[in-house]
Symmetry: C2
Subunit: 317 residues, 2 copies
């Protein structure tokens, strides 16, 4: 299952609105005979890819998948819950049920009805983390929003002059590009757009093709070529084909999303330096008492990136 | 040597202006026969305490000490470089040389001249870290200054109203009290003094007696009972009997010390919460370009404290 999660995670940012599923088929002798992930654009599904790779070796094998096989027919392909028994798979191990109301347990029911043994729950935590974008979209009818900030120890994003290049080092900036590659869309505010005219592309060897769609938060700018314009944070509910949205700044945009409680995850790239007088990360986010600030964010550990450090926080809902 | 460092560290905050040395005596069969640390007030020295504890078992034994045994006679006691050979110690293992110009290698010379085998350097890093206050005082003619801050993710110390109780939780606050117990003096600014009338004492079971001296940074307040008043940060050079000074706030005081480059270590107690609009950690600290901010602080790792996290930074000099 760990390998299935890894395959699914590699596809994150490419499959929306479909989930980034990973799948591994293991023969009775323990050999891996097929691997698959949801293909770019969402089809074929991970199970279909792995079944095709395994060929005749599927007979009597065990199929590991990070998500319940689909039970809903589509003009774009047959159901996985139909393909799997037809290929002679004896057993399916799935990490989680698919909350899509067209499947939602029906995939497992169909498999069992056709004599396939089904186990659910292995690797649930890792699978949920990897497919958090898809799961958030189904649960909250909007993309999962990740807010990214490069901060000093004292939480500043820039000098009073606006100078912010570079607070963090190369390793941290490369990590941002990796996060971009796993996002379906990146959003910045008007200030960042006008000051930096950012490319927001992925500048990592081999991942250049994974640059996501770009969005701009602005009430006043009209259509901008190459950009999708949102007037307000809650407009993200319109983005039905975005699982993972990465908000890259600046402070006003971050504040607007936080004030509407539309942030699910925060990535802080913390540089070991002090700025002192400078630009703060956020303005008023609706907090009027310290007691109300507690319990909303959970630290999810961190990692060293050169001299900098990544801190990950998730919204506790 | 690890045990000697541990003993010395436990005495940190009690021995100034003397160093907080730890000492362990090990007999030829490997048994520990004596332990010692610099006594409160600085005398007797760790070696004398350990020799007294070991009694006749010192003959032929090895003495581990975190600092070179003293070579300067004092009205308060004999030199350790004299006591050690007299007790029949065969070998001395010391972590570092004593930079005190009255010793500075002469302790080792005297031991060797009296037939004691001497090894220097074992556990040097840990010993330097534990005696950093003493070493800073000798190197820079002022105490080591540790700045302590309780901060949100976004680097705020309070709401706009000034409300800051409590950003961090109980575990973090208990850790602050432990740090107080290991300081010789605690300093706050006038604002913190007048707003909070802080006790700045140690409220940890068994350590209540270790509450350090209290100092106030103010140009205008006259003598205050129970407090020592400093007019400006550089006045810390007058504190000849303080190894470790803990600066607890507020923002103006922290800024004043940072602007004069008088901070050696920063302890950030980081709470997993966002404040947004609020009071920043520091004002203008003299930084005019991001490039100048790099390389001044080294992250020294951290530790979880309940839901909070301690970040330690040391000034790279």
């Amino acid at each position: 299952m760990a390998e299935a999660v890894r395959l699914g995670e590699a596809a994150r940012g490419l499959t929306a609105p479909n989930p980034n599923v990973g799948c591994v088929i293991v023969a009775a002798d323990g050999t891996i005979v097929g691997r698959g992930a949801t293909a770019p654009g969402g089809r074929p599904h991970a199970e279909a890819v792995a079944l095709a790779a395994a060929g005749a070796a599927t007979r009597g094998a065990t199929l590991y998948t990070t998500l319940e096989p689909c039970a809903h027919a589509s003009p774009r392909g047959p159901t996985c819950a139909g393909l799997i028994p037809a290929a002679g798979i004896a057993r399916v191990v799935a990490a989680i049920e698919d909350p899509d109301p067209r499947t939602a347990g029906r995939g497992f029911d169909r498999l069992r009805a056709q004599g396939v043994e089904v186990t659910v729950g292995e690797g649930e935590g890792a699978a949920r983390a990897s497919m958090a974008g898809y799961l958030t979209r189904l649960a909250l009818s909007r993309p999962r929003v990740t807010l990214k900030l490069a901060l000093s120890i004292d939480g500043k994003i820039a000098l009073p002059s606006g100078e912010s290049k570079w607070i963090t080092g190369e390793d941290a900036r490369a990590h941002v590009h990796l996060e971009r590659a796993h996002s379906d869309m990146i959003l910045v505010g008007r200030g960042t757009y006008e000051a930096d005219t950012p490319r927001l592309d992925v500048r990592l060897p081999g991942l250049e093709e994974r640059s996501p769609r770009r969005a701009l938060l602005s009430r006043t700018l009209g259509p901008v070529a190459g950009w999708e314009v949102l007037e307000k944070p809650s407009d993200i509910a319109r983005l039905h084909d975005v699982n993972d949205l990465l908000v890259e700044g600046g402070a006003a945009t971050a504040t607007a999303f936080l004030a509407e409680d539309l942030v699910d995850r925060i990535l802080i790239y913390r540089a070991p330096l002090l700025i002192g007088e400078g630009k703060s990360s956020f303005g008023y986010i609706g907090l009027d008492a310290i007691a109300d600030a507690h319990g909303r964010w959970r630290a999810q550990g961190g990692a060293g990136l050169g001299v900098d450090r990544l801190e990950v926080y998730e919204r506790a809902r």
